[in-house]
């Protein structure tokens, strides 16, 4: 039995949730047959209703749903029925809610980590491709790859585990998961911003001088992302990973050689501001990726 539960199919939280609901309804049916006070099916209904929670919020949202159902039944019973019937119904609802919440917590509980990691892997991969596309747009003015990669990023972003922000998400995991989520969203914003900035026609001489450094940057970002994905898949890293801090410094130096201005000067020309903004965003991408790596350690 234990080996069956180790099958990859049981890693899927939707399947685990469905099995939990089926088990709970089965228990509720038996309880309803032997112990129901009203014979109106409130036990089964309450058990199913309190189980409709998001990933990682079984207890809090289950209790919330129990109180909601109890309040609705109280109001409806007071309006259309007697106090005695109300007490009996509330008894049934309490039994049903207990079965539902207990089943949600005990039988095949949500594997928050698996769900979280499974959505982030493809997203990180699409980030790498998007960044390569953006640099290609910047250096060769080739829009196509960046656009294709952007569509992929947008698709993956729809699968982001936004349930980490749901009310009642497991308090022990809240901080770490939300931090990781925030950094992942931040990277998407940085990449979209880089895409917009890369469309700007920059000085050809500057781009020629920084060409090799940008290519190095792309390689290192992709290496970094691959390393993050390896750690997310719970595998060991075979070799160390360089970050691209050095390349960013080189890009800035080349820029300063061509446009020797201080950033404190506020009458910088428009094209220069775009380039400085691009290198700022690059630095932020770097620091977000490093933060992700630190969070995974």
């Amino acid at each position: 039995m234990h080996s069956i539960l180790l099958l990859p199919v049981f890693n899927n939280n939707k399947i685990r949730h469905s099995i939990r609901i089926i088990c709970a309804i089965f228990i509720a049916l038996i309880t309803n047959y032997y112990f129901s006070f009203t014979d109106e099916g409130w036990i089964i209904m309450a058990a199913a209703f309190v189980m409709l929670t998001t990933v990682g919020s079984a207890l809090y949202q289950g209790l919330l749903r129990f109180f909601l159902l109890a309040s609705l039944v109280t109001v409806a019973s007071l309006l259309f029925s007697s106090i005695t019937a109300l007490t009996l119904r509330l008894n049934d609802i309490a039994i049903g809610a207990f079965i539902g919440i207990a089943a949600n917590i005990i039988i095949l509980p949500d594997r928050v980590d698996v769900e979280f990691r499974s959505t982030l892997g493809p997203l990180l991969q699409s980030y790498g491709a998007y960044f390569s596309g953006i640099i290609e747009l910047l250096l060769k003015n080739n829009q196509k790859n960046a656009e294709i990669a952007k569509i992929q990023v947008e698709k993956e972003l729809l699968h982001l585990p936004i349930w980490v922000y749901e009310v009642g998400f497991d308090i022990r995991m809240q901080k770490g998961y939300r931090y990781f989520f925030m950094k992942i969203s931040q990277i998407s914003e940085i990449l979209f911003a880089l895409h917009y900035l890369a469309r700007h026609p920059f000085d050809v001489k500057l781009l020629e001088r920084t060409h090799d450094v940008f290519i190095q940057c792309v390689l290192k970002v992709n290496q970094f992302i691959l390393a993050l994905m390896t750690v997310l898949e719970l595998k060991k890293l075979t070799e160390g990973v360089d970050d691209f801090e050095e390349e960013i410094a080189l890009i800035e130096n080349e820029f300063k050689k061509i446009a020797p201005i201080s950033l404190e000067l506020l009458d910088i020309e428009k094209a220069s501001v775009y380039f400085v903004e691009f290198s700022y965003a690059l630095k932020e991408l770097h620091s977000s990726l490093v933060s992700l790596a630190k969070a995974l350690r």
Partner: protein
């Protein structure tokens, strides 16, 4: 005999007219669907813009960060759903591809604009610029909603608000803020937002 041919030709012409009418009707319905989906994108974009500004305008932002992040994530996901649906429709109709790419461009600019919230650590700076930020938020979201309603837009209000913010930047922010160049990026992105929306 001649009369018979004449009647047949008339019937054929009627059929042709009917087919043309059906084609133009389907075309009209398809165009209305695309227009509706593009309008939905603009509405969703306005909501994203509104949610992003919470970082500068809401006093409880630092305390209630998770709740604001939740709102922003929902609005962002809503926008991404709308834009993907619109992309599916637009790919069969070249006529609307220009406006579609402008929506994408506007979203990128909004992302670039709001990198400011990660770049400025001192919340008191946003207290200084609260009035100007409110003006920019109101003017920019109003513009997006006006475009969504397919009405004529006037970017003068947004330009005025950008000028007010620029004045504040020149007088105060560049002295007070540790890294004033980030506000320069913000202003430049605002001008870019304005020019894209004016070109719609």
């Amino acid at each position: 005999m001649g009369n018979d041919i004449f009647t047949k030709t008339r019937v054929l012409e009627r059929y042709q007219e009917g087919i043309i009418f059906l084609f133009s009707l389907f075309n009209w319905i398809a165009e209305q669907r695309i227009k509706k989906s593009l309008a939905d994108c603009f509405y969703a974009l306005a909501k994203v813009q509104n949610a992003q500004f919470a970082a500068y305008l809401r006093q409880d932002y630092l305390i209630q960060q998770a709740s604001y992040a939740n709102i922003l994530n929902h609005q962002r996901q809503n926008f991404l759903k709308k834009i993907q649906y619109a992309r599916k429709l637009v790919q069969y109709n070249e006529k609307f591809s220009a406006i579609f790419s402008k929506i994408e461009n506007l979203y990128e600019i909004i992302c670039s604009l709001h990198l400011l919230k990660f770049r400025v650590n001192e919340y008191s700076v946003f207290e200084i610029s609260k009035r100007e930020m409110q003006g920019i938020e109101k003017a920019s979201t109003n513009l997006l909603i006006t475009v969504a309603k397919n009405k004529k837009i006037d970017t003068a209000e947004l330009l005025d608000e950008i000028h007010l913010f620029e004045t504040l930047f020149n007088r105060t922010l560049q002295i007070v803020v540790r890294d004033p160049v980030v506000f320069l990026f913000f202003i430049q992105d605002l001008y870019a937002f304005n020019s894209v929306i004016a070109s719609i």
